[in-house]
């Protein structure tokens, strides 16, 4: 059975990578009108030309369909690549490697095979300049942007603060991206920058596919650990989406058909050994309550009074926790932080860390343990103008901060006190001193982002 392996277990010249390069090159040379061409397949995600073909501009985001849709997308792309690879003399069990940036450090760089303009004196099909400045020199994605720990700890699938995202409905006033979609999926897209940071061009960068192989793997890991289950709702199971197989024939696939990777005919290889300094963030946010039914009767207990504008600098806010509404924090009460009405014309490429209740004079470790989520803006340029025939989904994040809230209540700093929230840009990191000057400036005054409100809720 084809095995998707951790790219960091491979040398730069490994045949798996070489065949990927070959497959990409073949697809790029095909006529853009052909369904198995690079451009056509990328346009299925999103296209500047809109839905010039019915299967284009189809990408599902901001809902519980994001994971199955992307699983189908990667699966069909892998089939198309494999067919080209086999036709070129390559192995029949070739599979995409996955980009395991979660291990941090050097593993949070774009793999070297993708970073050089040429490979063995030929143009490198895996390379593009359309990425954030400096990233092709080996800058590392920030630890706060790459971790999947918070997502993997979510007890259930359905919900805006849960693993896989919320259900869709015509009554919804905003999209419901789940934790995995926000981090590391969105944050990696935003931090890699360039094509990857926009819906209409993201799938043009060959790094997209190894990124999504990793996201797909994380869904598999979450589901296979024995404690978690996918949605059982008919609405999710029976939803189908159109893709093309290796022969260019249109295939409709239902979500229920893609819940098991082995049934689809592939599996995931083990992770590379972690580098010397593994990164841990958000340890203060560990889920402390068993899984519930998802958000059902939310109760507002505090919110900001004015919108916030982000232009690349850190912003600190204090959210007064209304004494009357919050009352005594009952044991077992879940508490959520919502970042609402996130609006902007374009993705600035800067992702922010959301830090909650950071102690004064916190060192880096304390700071990192209060990082509850990353705030990035992948898809913001299309959030009011939906793909295909869908409702728009405004951007909004819902984050489980129960552990922090209960810690504050234990210190008697809850009802009537203020919750300190800081938004700080997450910077690319330089592995060596020479590369530090290449770290891009996070400032984005020309593409400001406004956050209408940050609120705190109780929920059952």
């Amino acid at each position: 059975m084809p095995e998707r392996v951790d790219i960091w277990t491979l040398e730069e010249d490994d045949p798996i990578i070489a065949w990927y390069r070959y497959g990409v090159k073949v697809m790029k040379e095909r006529d853009p009108e052909s369904v198995t061409s690079w451009v056509y397949q990328a346009a299925m995600h999103g296209s500047n030309e809109g839905a010039a073909h019915p299967a284009w501009d189809n990408c599902q985001h901001g809902s519980w369909y994001v994971l199955p849709w992307h699983r189908m997308y990667v699966y069909r792309m892998e089939e198309i690549l494999r067919a080209a690879i086999v036709a070129g003399g390559g192995p029949e069990d070739w599979a995409l490697p996955y980009w395991n940036y979660g291990l941090g450090g050097e593993y949070a760089t774009v793999p070297p095979a993708f970073r050089s303009p040429e490979f063995e004196d030929e143009e490198n099909a895996l390379y593009t300049t359309e990425r954030a400045a400096g990233i092709n020199t080996g800058l590392e994605l920030p630890p706060g942007a790459i971790t999947a720990a918070a997502a993997l700890a979510r007890p259930i699938y359905i919900g805006a603060a849960e693993f896989g995202g919320g259900a869709v409905g015509p009554e919804k006033m905003a999209g419901e991206k789940g934790v995995l979609e926000r981090r590391p999926h969105d944050s990696v897209h935003s931090n890699v920058g360039g094509w990857m940071s926009r819906l209409n061009t993201a799938a043009l960068d060959p790094v997209f596919w190894i990124h999504h192989a990793n996201i797909d793997r994380l869904w598999h890991v979450w589901r296979e650990d024995g404690e978690h289950t996918d949605p059982a709702e008919a609405e999710w199971l029976e939803q189908e989406f159109p893709f093309f197989d290796a022969a260019g024939e249109e295939v409709m696939t239902k979500c229920e058909d893609v819940t098991d990777t082995e049934a689809l005919g592939y599996e995931y290889g083990p992770e590379a050994p972690p580098p010397i300094s593994p990164i841990e963030t958000g340890t203060a946010v560990a889920t402390i309550f068993p899984g519930g039914e998802g958000v059902t009767s939310p109760e507002l207990i505090g919110a900001t009074t004015e919108p916030i504008t982000l232009v690349g600098e850190a912003v600190d806010v204090e959210i007064p926790i209304d004494a009357e509404a919050a009352g005594e924090l009952a044991s077992g009460q879940r508490v959520y932080l919502n970042v609402e009405n996130i609006e902007g014309e374009d993705n600035p490429g800067t992702a922010y860390g959301i830090y909650v209740d950071v102690p004064p004079d916190a060192n880096q470790e304390a700071l990192d343990s209060h990082l509850v989520d990353s705030l990035s803006f992948f898809g913001i340029e299309r959030s009011e103008e939906p793909f295909n025939d869908q409702h728009p989904h405004g951007m909004r994040s819902a984050i489980d901060i129960s552990a922090i809230a209960h810690a504050m209540a234990d210190r008697e700093e809850w009802a009537g006190a203020a919750l300190r929230v800081s938004l700080k840009p997450l910077m690319l990191q330089a592995p060596t001193a020479e590369l530090e000057s290449l770290i891009p400036d996070p400032a984005h005054p020309e593409t400001p982002i406004t956050i209408g409100r940050i609120s705190v809720f109780y929920d059952a």
């Binding site: 006033m173 025939d389 409702h391 405004g394 409100r453």
Partner: protein
């Protein structure tokens, strides 16, 4: 999705959710009260008598929705001139707006309720609704005044024209843009004067999106002559059908077919001298 599935989902799709706050249930109650008032013809029909004393088939600035099929009278011949005559129709217009245009605003109302502090919930929802209905009232005043100033009076011509406009609008990109704005929330500060301003502002914003999307439907209401509760119900159902779908463009195309057929019938009536 089967019709049974759709029916089971209706409360959620209407914004009533699993455990609707009391404020939202109150608004649903208000909607039912408005329908009841329409059904029993609670709002009196202002009559401006023409010289003959016999009801004329002319359409005036007042559209009346009543079970006994009363005809509107009015026009520039009404006593006091077009403005008072038009304004006299506003109470009925407001009732119609509440009955027909509040149901589609239930999701946004629910959003306001959930996103307000419990002790402010009733206030926030009321402020939101006032802002929302104010837009419909303003539109209503403009429509009624416009009708009062119209020089001709064949009801069926106006109906055909309004249905034609509705069909064209249904297919336009502008309509889809407006429908998308109906899904856009505005921030709601938690307390103080800012909370009141925020809720009202969201009401006005949502109302403007709603008017932009549905103005032709209400225009048809305004000119429909031999009014029945059926007209109200039909067009209100239309508005809901536009909203309660996961594929808005496909739904709009299908509804346009219905509107087009209605336009054709009305045009036929014009030609036949009805």
């Amino acid at each position: 999705m089967t019709w049974r599935d759709r029916l089971l989902r209706l409360p959620r799709w209407m914004g009533l959710g699993d455990r609707p706050p009391a404020a939202v249930l109150a608004v649903a109650g208000l909607v039912l009260a408005a329908w009841a008032a329409l059904a029993v013809d609670l709002v009196p029909m202002p009559m401006a008598m023409a010289g003959t004393g016999a009801p004329s088939a002319s359409v005036g600035p007042l559209w009346l929705c009543s079970l006994d099929g009363g005809m509107s009278m009015g026009g520039a011949a009404g006593s006091g001139g077009p403005v008072p005559t038009a304004l006299a129709g506003l109470p009925m217009w407001s009732l119609m707006a509440m009955a027909m245009m509040l149901p589609v605003a239930l999701p946004a109302t629910s959003h306001v309720a959930v996103n307000s502090l419990r002790r402010r919930r009733g206030r926030a929802v009321s402020q939101f609704l006032l802002g929302y209905l104010a837009l419909w009232l303003a539109f209503g005043a403009a429509v009624l005044l416009g009708l009062a100033l119209l020089p001709f009076d064949r009801a069926v011509v106006l109906v055909a024209a309004a249905l034609g406009v509705a069909t064209a609008w249904e297919l336009s990109p502008a309509k889809q843009w407006a429908l998308r704005r109906c899904h856009k929330p505005r921030p709601l500060p938690p307390n103080g004067w800012r909370a009141s301003v925020g809720a009202t502002r969201f009401g006005v914003f949502h109302g403007s999106a709603c008017v932009a999307a549905c103005w032709p439907l209400m225009l048809v209401m305004a000119v429909a002559p031999s009014a029945r509760l059926a007209w109200c119900a039909g067009l209100a159902g239309f508005g809901l059908a536009e909203k309660l779908t996961l594929k808005p463009r496909r739904r709009a195309r299908r509804l346009a077919v219905v509107l087009g057929a209605a336009t054709a019938l009305a045009a036929l009536a014009v030609v036949l001298g009805v």
